[in-house]
């Protein structure tokens, strides 16, 4: 029995070594999803931002959508290449997604894909000055260790997000309205799949991306917590 365990351990180690050896040669995708939770309340209270917000009197109002803008799926592990898919933007009038992550010591880029100007703000980040970013402009943020930092917009109060600094960040993926996410071009190997929402990590799972085929991750249950 004892010998069987020993041989199993050796086999796993050999498999890992083989996967690591193949990592430079292939890149796979990782797909997953989160179980839909109740739609979160808007990031900002818009109770005083209007004179009128009245029902149209014809059709019943639509329920609030669970757009999962606040969720970000990341892979962390032993990978020294540039983070994969960790580009973010203003889209539709807000950060998309509103939770972003960057490897400590690198620079994260946020592009303005809207037709109007944004002014990105990062609370408490040393050396960062809010500046206007016109349509198409990219704002680069140097990310030190630490965080998370709160993000905002000088012009739009509804824009709110958080930026995480992760030392072993490998890849980033937005969570769609349906709760699905997909990492592209991930080197095979063992990773930790983490779901971030706001300032906290709401789900984590260890995954091994096999070479030559996509990894389908079982749906992740999100911890309840603050945004």
């Amino acid at each position: 029995m004892r010998g069987l365990r020993t041989w199993t351990t050796l086999a796993a180690a050999g498999t890992a070594a083989v996967l690591m050896a193949y990592s430079g040669a292939s890149a796979e995708s990782v797909e997953g999803s989160v179980r839909q939770a109740a739609p979160a309340a808007p990031a900002t209270s818009d109770g005083a931002d209007y004179y009128w917000k009245v029902w149209n009197g014809a059709l019943p109002e639509q329920p609030r959508r669970a757009d999962n803008d606040q969720l970000l799926a990341v892979l962390t592990g032993k990978f020294t290449g540039p983070p994969i898919g960790c580009t973010f933007s203003f889209r539709g009038g807000s950060l998309d997604p509103s939770t972003i992550a960057a490897r400590a010591g690198t620079t994260v880029r946020i592009q303005n894909k809207d037709a109007f100007t944004h002014e990105l703000e990062v609370d408490g980040l040393p050396g960062f000055t809010p500046l206007e970013s016109g349509p198409g402009a990219v704002r680069a943020i140097p990310v030190p260790a630490g965080g998370p930092w709160k993000l905002g917009d000088g012009y739009y109060g509804h824009v709110e997000g958080y930026m995480h600094s992760i030392r072993e960040l490998v890849a980033c993926a937005a969570v769609g309205a349906s709760g699905k996410f997909r990492f592209e071009n991930v080197p095979p190997g063992p990773y930790s799949l983490r779901i971030l929402r706001g300032t906290e990590q709401v789900a984590v799972r260890r995954v091994i991306v096999p070479p030559g085929k996509a990894l389908q991750v079982e749906p992740l249950a999100l911890k309840s917590g603050r945004k």
Partner: protein, 593 residues
């Protein structure tokens, strides 16, 4: 005292009036400021109501766009699985939006979007803009896509827009929304300012004014408002109401109701307050206010107080001064012995009493006293002398001293130590008793340095001959200067004495006077003695005595004696011969009763 009290009353009344004026000013200023603050609060409420109404009107106006079939059809197609419509369709929708927007007239939008159910912009007013644009994360759009009509304020590429959104539904489902924006500019400020007369309305974005309207000459200027923007924003941040942005200007600031408030977009209403200074107390006085004044109190009370004050002044001062003036006039005429102190009060009474005391003491001007104390007997004699007697003592035809040159000096009664008469001892030519004890120190020397006395009064004779004799005090008698001179003669070569203030002057008891009085016979003998002494002295001086008879001499002595007695109320007069300017002269010394 009462008049002084009246001054105090006047001063207190003035102080109270001034304090009241200043208090009134402060109260009026505070009231004006309070009214201004209240007015600004009402302005803000009114502005909010107007903006709310304006938002509602824009929302309602959007119905014309939301129900347009082409809009609904295009948005429905875009919301289907087919995705964004082709460019041509989008351009047609843009043209339609322009047409419909133009029909809104006052509600015409500066920015209109037609978005599908996913929040993607299908068409705008700019038909050349076919970019891939989404607005689904804007709260306004999100709520509209859920079925709400809602307003908002956006900062969009540096400009500020009042936004309104209305859902578009077709076929029983939501297919999109119409997003409508109107630029905030001077037109909006003007329309709002028309609802707030005499106020200046501005909209600001950060520290910049993006729209302004000045409500007339009485309203603050745009620059005043801009200068006070920082303080108004500070007050707005602290939740306060209006803030003072100028000497008499206040303003109230408020954020706009919408997302743009996050960017520092708001509006401010400023007003000038009423000028309330001491001069401005009456700036807002109406004729009705003047008419409602209690004039009986405003005029009557000060008038009564004025009359009371004048009466008190009359009683305390004017009346006394009048009495003093009249009595002093009468006194100067000699009809009064003194001032009527009994009719006066307080200080005036004291003044009158002091003057009376001085009059009784015979105190006068020093020079006058000297003149009185040394009346040249010749002057007196000259007043009674007829022309034929001129040169009686002078023997004019013989170039002898005239009566003026041969003077007889009058001397007052000299009474020395109390109770001791100044009876002239027998065998002497002076009125001074031989061994009369006086306060004079032994040896006849005063303890004080002798004052040099003129040998002859320098009073010009003609002037003195024309005037009345100097009135002499009655009681107490003036210190007999002549006797002093005579005392000075004892042991003095010049024959003049020296003043001695330590010598006491007092009345001589009548019995002593009677004892010392020579009587008729004694007087005759005294005259004889004086005559002989006079003749002798004249001769010794080398002067001529021709024509001088005892009868003439005695006649003159009588005349002189009568005058001196009358003037000094003396019992008798003693004459003394002495040498004056090289000739014999007479000195008359009245002896008091």
């Amino acid at each position: 005292m009462l008049s002084r009290l009246w001054y105090l009353v006047l001063a207190v009344a003035l102080g109270v009036a001034l304090a009241g004026a200043f208090l009134n000013k402060s109260a009026a200023s505070r009231e004006a400021e309070f009214q201004l603050e209240e007015q600004l609060r009402r302005d803000r409420v009114e502005a909010e109501l107007w903006l709310r109404l304006d938002a509602r009107l824009r929302l309602d106006a959007l119905a014309a766009l939301a129900v347009e079939p082409e809009v609904r059809q295009t948005l429905r197609n875009s919301s289907n699985k087919r995705g964004t419509p082709p460019v041509g369709t989008r351009k047609r929708l843009s043209n339609k939006l322009n047409t419909l927007n133009a029909k809104l007239e006052e509600g015409k939008g500066d920015m209109v979007f037609a978005v599908d159910a996913e929040g993607e912009v299908v068409a705008t007013l700019d038909k050349s803009d076919m970019s891939d644009q989404r607005l689904d994360k804007m709260p306004l759009v999100r709520d509209a896509l859920r079925g709400f009509m809602r307003d908002d304020v956006w900062v969009y590429n540096g400009s500020v827009y009042r936004m309104a959104a209305r859902p578009v539904f077709d076929g029983g489902r939501y297919v999109g929304a119409i997003i409508h924006g109107m630029l905030i500019g001077d037109d909006l400020a003007r329309r709002l300012g028309e609802k707030l007369p005499n106020a200046t309305v501005v909209f600001f974005f950060g520290d910049e004014l993006i729209a302004a309207h000045t409500g007339g000459a009485s309203a603050p200027t745009r620059s005043e408002i801009k200068n006070g923007l920082a303080s108004a924003l500070g007050a707005m941040g602290e939740g306060d109401g209006s803030t003072e942005i100028g000497p008499r200007t206040r303003a109230i600031a408020a954020p706009v109701r919408g997302g743009a408030s996050h960017a520092g977009v708001g509006y401010m209403v400023g007003r000038n307050g009423s000028l309330v200074g001491l001069g401005g107390l009456f700036a807002n006085t109406f004729s009705e206010d003047v008419a409602s004044l209690p004039w009986w109190a405003v005029i009557g009370i000060p008038l009564v107080l004025l009359l009371l004050g004048l009466a008190l002044l009359y009683l305390e001062h004017d009346k006394a001064v009048g009495i003093l003036r009249k009595s002093s006039t009468t006194l100067a005429k000699g009809d009064l012995d003194g001032l009527p102190a009994g009719q006066l009060r307080r200080h005036y009474r004291a003044i009158a009493e002091n003057v009376n005391t001085a009059l009784r003491a015979g105190i006068g001007f020093k020079k006058d006293a000297e003149v009185r104390a040394n009346v040249d007997l010749d002057d007196m004699l000259s007043s009674t002398r007829d022309e034929a007697d001129t040169g009686y003592f002078g023997f004019g035809q013989q170039e002898v001293p005239t009566a003026r040159r041969t003077s007889v000096e009058e001397a007052s009664v000299a009474t020395v130590t109390k109770g001791v008469p100044t009876a002239r001892p027998a065998g002497t030519t002076t009125a001074r008793p031989k061994e009369t004890p006086t306060a004079r120190p032994a040896g006849g020397k005063s303890s004080r340095p002798p004052a040099p006395m003129p040998r002859h009064r320098a009073t010009p004779a003609p002037a003195r001959a024309e005037r009345e004799p100097t009135p002499m005090p009655d009681d107490p008698p003036t210190r007999p200067r002549a006797i002093v001179d005579e005392y000075g003669g004892f042991g003095d070569d010049d024959g003049y004495g020296e003043a001695e203030e330590s010598t006491q002057v007092t009345h001589i008891p009548q019995e002593l006077l009677e004892k010392s009085s020579p009587g008729e016979e004694g007087e005759e003998a005294h005259f004889r003695e004086v005559f002989e002494k006079f003749v002798e002295t004249q001769k010794e001086c080398g002067a001529s005595v021709a024509g001088l008879t005892f009868e003439k001499f005695v006649r003159k002595l009588h005349a002189a004696r009568e005058q001196v007695m009358k003037r000094h109320n003396a019992a008798s007069v003693r004459f003394t011969v002495y040498v004056k300017e090289g000739r014999a002269a007479l000195k008359a010394s009245p002896v008091k009763r």
